[in-house]
């Protein structure tokens, strides 16, 4: 009986929390955007969320591309197929690694920061104070951060993939001696704009929605104490990483299985 009650309680509280999260997101997004006041806020958040994540994304991208090239080369050279290094690297990056690794890094770098910032604004009564000033904190605080995350992540994923391919070129062509012409041309013949690049971007948009939403909700819904904020920040990283991996499997199954 106790077990059943615990299960029921947990289920109900999960649903309640999902409901609150949906209400928060709809409250933030379902309104007439005010471009005059909204644009500077959005630009500031694009800077905080997007530009500030550039360095970690580019460095990780470069190294992941280089490692992929190194590993791929040692396997492919055994079959005399080192010319296929280009498509190997490009396809794995565009379809999987680009969107997924970017989302994971983004959750750690920007997601946790969003949660902590909003949680702290809640703890220091800044959100309440906005409400008492007749300004909706969902529109003023949550909405620009959401859009910034939603716009930034696909851009970051594109940058990640591009830098990683350059890194792979560096190792594969300049160091290991794969022919530059065949590196690019075989890559081009194998990579399709719609199938690979667009699908990768769709993935990225979905991950952006998930990660930003989780981060904002965890901050907005946290217990406004230092312990509550630290718990919320951890949960943001853990939950959004797991959600990204789960949705990645689903999306891959839908997009690339036929």
């Amino acid at each position: 009986m106790d077990f059943l009650q615990a299960l029921g309680h947990k289920t109900l509280s999960r649903f309640a929390s999902l409901g609150r999260a949906t209400r928060m997101l709809l409250g933030a997004l379902l309104s007439m955007p005010n471009f005059k006041k909204g644009t500077p806020l959005l630009i500031k958040q694009l800077y905080m969320v997007g530009h500030q994540s550039l360095l970690i994304i580019m460095v990780s991208g470069l190294f992941i591309g280089m490692v992929l090239a190194l590993q791929g080369y040692t396997v492919l050279v055994g079959y005399g197929a080192e010319d296929s290094l280009g498509p190997l690297v490009a396809l794995s990056l565009l379809r999987e690694l680009g969107p997924v690794v970017t989302a994971l890094l983004f959750a750690g770098r920007a997601g946790s920061a969003l949660t902590a910032e909003i949680g702290l604004m809640k703890a220091t009564e800044q959100l309440s104070s906005l409400e008492m000033m007749a300004i909706d904190p969902l529109k003023r605080v949550v909405a620009p951060r959401f859009w910034a995350g939603f716009i930034s992540m696909p851009l970051l994923a594109l940058i990640f993939s591009a830098v990683a391919i350059i890194g792979a070129h560096l190792v594969g062509v300049d160091w290991l001696g794969v022919d530059s012409g065949s590196f690019w041309s075989i890559m081009q013949s194998q990579v399709s704009f719609q199938q690979d690049i667009l699908n990768g971007m769709i993935k990225s948009f979905v991950f952006a929605l998930i990660v930003t939403w989780i981060a904002l909700y965890k901050g907005y819904d946290c217990v406004p104490t230092s312990e509550g904020i630290s718990k919320a920040t951890t949960e943001t990283v853990v939950h959004s990483s797991l959600a990204v991996l789960g949705f990645d499997f689903l999306l891959t199954a839908v997009m690339f299985s036929s």
């Binding site: 006041k37 702290l120 604004m121 220091t124 009564e125 800044q126 309440s128 104070s129 409400e131 008492m132 000033m133 007749a134 300004i135 909706d136």
Partner: protein, 281 residues
């Protein structure tokens, strides 16, 4: 009009109330915080709500601000029912009231100047030049004109509260609610705040509602006192009336006695029993 009111007698003023709490019951979870509570806040006066900590004084302010809804009963602001307002009406009403939070709640990512300009920029169409003038006037009123370019993190606790006070009067509200304005202040800042609250009330002709448990400070400026304990109002009146009040609970609170109707000891089993029980084990 308001200046005239100040000079009229207290009974007449009480009929002119800006906020009416009527028969309000509010509970959080299983815990009832208020039960059938009623009182009113007169217009153009300083009203103090006092009571021991943990009886939900801040909750009272949130109820008035419409952030929480009572389980039953009604709260009116200028004759309009706050729980019954639509969202738009509520936001409209909130532009006429403002609240000074315990922590000040200054926006940490803006300078003091921008913090005070913030409500003006959001709610008015004033030009930047006019906003600058208004902000400087408000800062002058709280004595922080020189600190306008500092960030909130560079201010001391008392200065932060004064800056927040300047922000809450930026839109010339009709009501200011102070949530524990004196908590954690040194005697000098406390004196400054007491003087500011009194002078703002007189100069701007607004109504003030102070939630506090700093008895001496608030009794020196309040026109009207409401003491809350045990889920309801236990006494109202002028400070003089309150000091003469017959209720032992009011007396214990005002005089700060450690034991009385509010016992020193938290509810527990008899002391001897518990000691002996420990020895047996």
């Amino acid at each position: 009009m308001i200046y005239k009111l100040v000079n009229q007698n207290v009974e007449r003023d009480l009929s002119q109330s800006i906020i009416e709490i009527k028969d309000v019951t509010f509970s959080r979870g299983d815990r009832t915080i208020y039960k059938n509570m009623s009182f009113s806040v007169p217009k153009g006066k300083i009203t103090a709500i006092m009571g021991p900590s943990g009886i939900g004084k801040t909750t009272m302010l949130r109820l008035i601000g419409g952030q929480l809804k009572p389980d039953s009963g009604d709260i009116t602001f200028e004759g309009q029912s706050v729980p019954g307002m639509t969202r738009a009406e509520l936001y409209e009403a909130r532009t006429k009231m403002s609240m000074l939070f315990q922590s000040g709640a200054l926006f940490t990512d803006m300078s003091v100047f921008d913090n005070i300009a913030f409500p003006l920029r959001e709610h008015t169409q004033l030009s930047e030049e006019l906003i600058r003038l208004v902000v400087l006037m408000k800062l002058q009123a709280v004595g922080l004109r020189g600190a306008r370019d500092l960030m909130p993190s560079e201010l001391s606790g008392g200065m932060a509260r004064r800056a927040a006070l300047a922000r809450s009067i930026a839109l010339d509200p009709e009501l200011i609610m102070y949530d524990e304005p004196f908590a954690g202040q040194d005697p000098i800042s406390m004196g400054v705040l007491v003087r500011l609250i009194k002078s703002l009330n007189q100069v701007l002709g607004l109504s003030s509602l102070i939630v506090t448990h700093d008895v001496t400070e608030v009794l020196s400026i309040a026109d009207h006192v409401v003491i809350i304990a045990e889920q309801g109002v236990i006494g109202t009146g002028t400070p003089e009336q309150m000091l003469q009040h017959s209720s032992p609970l009011v007396q214990q609170f005002l005089k700060g006695l450690s034991d009385g109707p509010v016992p020193f000891h938290f509810k527990a089993a008899p002391y001897e029993d518990e000691l002996l029980l420990g020895a047996q084990q």
